[in-house]
Symmetry: C2
Subunit: 208 residues, 2 copies
């Protein structure tokens, strides 16, 4: 498998965690997003969205990090990334999507650049990212506040944790407030796991 990604991309980071949890081997192909390498003709032929990550598996190309994680979970079910009960699965997926749909895309590089093109200065752009992340994580913390830990949904890592941890990385990068006790508990538990530790941006080959 070839993971087309970028060290600091939180969507790539999610896939790295999932690959690690499943104990899979992969090779990296990295793109300097700020230089626009993800919009080259060669990459657009792989992923017309011009976004990382993409996962190549035996010549087939998969895009969208959550779809990739679910694919890995279906092919390599141990350890599972989703609970077995349909209602619990829906809660885990809903939490993951609350970040993957309603926080991350609204603070990613592409959107922040569009804001700059509309005349927002750097402070305003950073403030936009902080507002989106803080209000989003506050809602996410409420989704799991009454649940037992140490992970988002109990004593097993799920897709929810895989999406939360990279978003906390983004939160710190933009100086967003992340003092939610339940989220801190999840982060501490995840950080103790080798798959999460190995997937952090600083440990990637293209880290700056």
């Amino acid at each position: 498998m070839i993971l087309h990604g970028f060290w600091r991309s939180s969507a790539s980071w999610r896939v790295r965690i999932a690959l690690g949890l499943k104990g899979l081997d992969w090779s990296d192909r990295t793109y300097r997003l700020r230089a626009g390498e993800q919009r080259s003709d060669a990459y657009l032929a792989l992923n017309p969205q011009g976004l990382v990550p993409a996962l190549e598996v035996d010549g087939a190309v998969l895009t969208q990090s959550l779809a990739i994680c679910e694919y890995l979970d279906e092919l390599y079910p141990d350890p599972p990334l989703l609970p077995s009960d349909p209602l619990e699965r829906a809660w885990v997926r809903g939490f993951a999507q609350a970040i993957a749909c309603d926080i991350h895309p609204i603070q990613n590089l592409k959107i922040l650049r569009m804001l700059g093109q509309r005349g927002l200065d750097e402070d305003a752009v950073q403030g936009w990212a902080r507002e989106v992340i803080e209000s989003g994580l506050e809602a996410c913390s409420r989704l799991i506040v009454d649940r037992d830990g140490p992970y988002c949904f109990g004593d097993q890592v799920t897709l929810a944790d895989i999406v939360l941890i990279p978003q906390l990385g983004n939160a710190r990068r933009f100086g967003a407030r992340i003092d939610f006790p339940r989220i801190a508990e999840v982060e501490a538990a995840c950080n103790a796991l080798p798959a999460f530790a190995a997937a952090t941006p600083a440990r990637q080959p293209d880290a700056e």
Copy 2:
């Protein structure tokens, strides 16, 4: 089941299609989003994100439209909303997420309001929505251009179609270009199905 939604919300629209395809009955509870009813304490207790839709099932609350659709598909597998092959499932989910993560949230009411608060005038805000929708749908059309129709992924309706059709509604509302032949083929095929016809915004009880 109670669907908490709004006639014009494309995420609510997705869930209505899925409920209809499965032949399920539900009751509607509607929120006037422009009046902020989705941010009432009562609704935030149901969904801390303050977004529609939410689906109440026997007192449990599910959020995020794609998670709700997958829940319905797991509980009521006929007709299936995803192919049986893991790679095909990943492609369908990836396409759905290309819209649900990278188009819709960036042009929804909440974000357009944030842009207005940052000083963009109405023309600029509408232009933002058009740009996001046009570039997003162009990428989506490339994801399915080489696939047999009439639906996004062959001769069976999938989650991809459920997400695409409401996004085309948004596209028209903002005057975005949608002249992609493959997408037009999908739309014509879906519009011929009763579940899609019944789910359109104009046919909802709260339509203005």
